[in-house]
Symmetry: C2
């Protein structure tokens, strides 16, 4: 995507200028962590690191940006020169993507000369926050979907196209099979899905003519939207086509009483022996709906999940912060009420019992734990995993998630932050 | 920003191909409207049109996009040729930005050959939805701020940088004075604000040294963050500096009991005659906080409003749709339960009583009403207003908003959709 180093808050740059003027250019460590999980989240899925590294690599101040900054009459020439030369040359310690993480755990730790790592604050929070938010929401649908197919239908109500793109990535990691978003298909190789909207049906004088026309255009991928006028009537028209020998892969229901309609539609097809026709459900679907419908035995094969996951509507943000934890080897704390921080670069040690996660300890950093050194002196230490590998990491990880955390109901996982300062 | 026509859902293109194959290329009108307002919104602010027009102008399928689409083995060569030549040549009727609008009112209506206007669906919804969502949220803070300064501090928790950029635009229209977002400053000329974070204070051994260092760097724009350790102690250190003759424009409080602390901090300064020092409050602020604090007489001069407005956390999406309402001059309806639509291209007629809005009627389109013909045959009919003009439009418009709608509490405005089909 488009990128400029001006994707930042003014105060990052005022601070950086003052650091340079006051000789505060020693080695600093900032830590990105989530203080408390939202009410409806039992864990988070680490996500967005690859995007962040890509953005940091492109975090450069060009002529246009510098000219704008100069026009503000805030910055000295020497500082603008610093920005012109800016390039990240520090270290990044992070939990790789697709891992399960919890409150107070350092997702990303950035180390380097103080001004250099300060000015990345806004970017680091923004990029990791969003994909972690969305992956952590999407995985809840995955956990209750019992093998049904989940597809991201959210682009239209994502908070601008860029959010749609990266939500597609995050939801694919979290177990979705694909997306309706073509840009995500092109950029990330995520499988794309989609057939028709109500407008298609409405343009034809007869619903049946619309179905017939679409089937002619896409004989191998006909999924018919049957709820434009009357869902059961729509199902019967789909049936008529099938009996004529037209191949119908599935039908989609986007409104109405899904619990009742999905069963009745299934019956319409099964009675005539069309047991392979899939039923796809969309329209404001979230994980609670999926759980309710599947518990009620609804014969639904796939869900188009959209608005509610792509906005993470029940928790549209995380209580995430990027805090100074170490400067020139000394611990740094903040004591503000409710916003206290833990000092030092940290490692996460996970303890298991019977193959299941039992508790985590957050300790002073040493190698060997969830946190890995990803970027050293500005250079990537090893190749990042592919999107598919990240997805597999999470699928594997979910197997060791304790039962009570897999539930949609609130539960708690213990994280012990050792105060070894 | 970066842009590609692949910012769309696959089904827009499958439908378009089938339209072309089935000779459904007649004149169509699609209407973008919000069905119901969220619980906490009494009205919406129309926002995002300029961005949409910019994106539509750039909605082109290049070689890379076409190659990807070809690789899907869904599309015929003739359709890919259609996409290669695609250019919007239709009409756009819209409510200009900065107007107050309500449920069931057509914000944007797109008219042209069916496939051409169908494939814009995802983009039209996405772009108008987000800025309308954010302007409608931000204006609530404006309505209760009684002349205090509001600043957008939200970038870090926006859903990716692009959302941060356009939220800055939307909130400026809605009455904010500025933003911390430098890209929004450069791109839109919005005033930028910002000074220091907790990390700045923590790097120095003494809070006072941090304050002194910052004031040296920015003698004309020193706003000190005083809550890192103890807010009142922080205020006293700021006072010490002022008594030494250092110019302090203001102090910022980002945590704690704001109601109590803002009053005590004010007292610290006033007692010594520093009545001009501003108090800025940030940290999870929303419109309910602003109203509560100002009602309680808190001496707060400015609010940094962030996460809660930039995610529209209490209503992170609108029930917005882009529906076919007319095809070849004939009305088009949808009957799905709870999702019925009104046919025909529409106009909004607003009725006033005593200078205040009384009710709206949504009627068949004729000139003269809130809806204007903005783009005719692909060409902009007149220059769009500047950002400042849009902001002034809204400020003027708010004067005719009935009292009960200006409240944060839920109220209702009547919109009569005439069923003159």
């Amino acid at each position: 995507m488009f990128f400029t180093a001006l994707i930042t808050d003014l105060y990052e740059l005022t601070m950086a200028q003052s650091y340079l003027e006051n000789d505060k250019v020693g080695n600093a460590v900032f830590s990105l962590f989530v203080r408390d999980l939202p009410p409806n989240r039992n864990f988070l899925v680490s996500c967005g690191l690859e995007t962040l590294l890509e953005y940091i690599q492109r975090f450069k101040f060009g002529d246009k940006e510098l000219k704008y900054l100069e026009s503000l009459n805030i910055f000295k020439d020497s500082f603008l020169d610093y920005l012109r030369e800016y390039e990240f040359t520090g270290n990044i310690y992070a939990v790789p993507e697709g891992r399960i993480v919890f409150q107070n755990e350092p997702l990303v730790q950035v180390e380097g000369p103080l001004p250099d790592v300060q000015i990345l604050e806004t970017l680091v929070i923004n990029v990791i926050h969003f994909q972690t938010l969305i992956a952590s929401k999407a995985v809840r649908s995955y956990l209750v979907s019992k093998g049904r197919t989940l597809i991201d239908f959210g682009l239209r109500r994502a908070h601008m196209p860029e959010a749609g793109l990266y939500a597609a990535r995050a939801s694919y990691i979290a177990g979705f099979e694909g997306t309706s978003n073509l840009l995500a298909g092109m950029k990330f190789g995520i499988p794309v899905f989609g057939t028709m909207a109500h407008s298609f049906v409405m343009v034809f004088e007869e619903e049946l003519s619309a179905f017939r026309a679409f089937a002619r255009s896409f004989p191998e991928r006909t999924i018919l939207l049957i709820d434009t006028y009357d869902t059961l009537e729509g199902a019967k028209k789909a049936l008529k086509l099938m009996k004529e020998g037209v191949k119908v892969v599935g039908v989609r229901l986007d409104s109405g009483d899904i619990q009742e309609l999905s069963k009745k539609v299934r019956e319409v097809f099964d009675k005539e022996g069309f047991k392979d026709v899939k039923i796809v459900v969309s329209g404001g679907v979230d994980e609670w709906d999926i759980q309710r419908w599947l518990t009620a035995g609804c014969p639904i094969d796939a869900f188009g999940v959209g608005t509610k996951f792509i906005t993470s509507y029940d928790a549209p943000y995380l209580d995430i912060a990027y805090k100074l934890v170490e400067y020139e080897g000394k611990p740094k704390y903040k004591l503000s009420p409710g916003k206290a921080t833990f000092p030092y670069k940290r490692q996460i040690i996970r303890h298991y019992a019977g193959g299941k996660m039992e508790y985590d300890r957050v300790v002073k950093y040493t190698e060997g734990g969830l946190v890995e050194l990803i970027v050293e002196k500005g250079t990537l230490k090893k190749n990042l995993p592919t999107l598919r590998q990240i997805r597999e990491t999470l699928m594997e990880e979910l197997k060791s998630l304790p039962e009570h955390l897999t539930s949609l109901e609130k539960s708690h996982y213990p994280v012990i932050v050792e105060n070894n300062s």
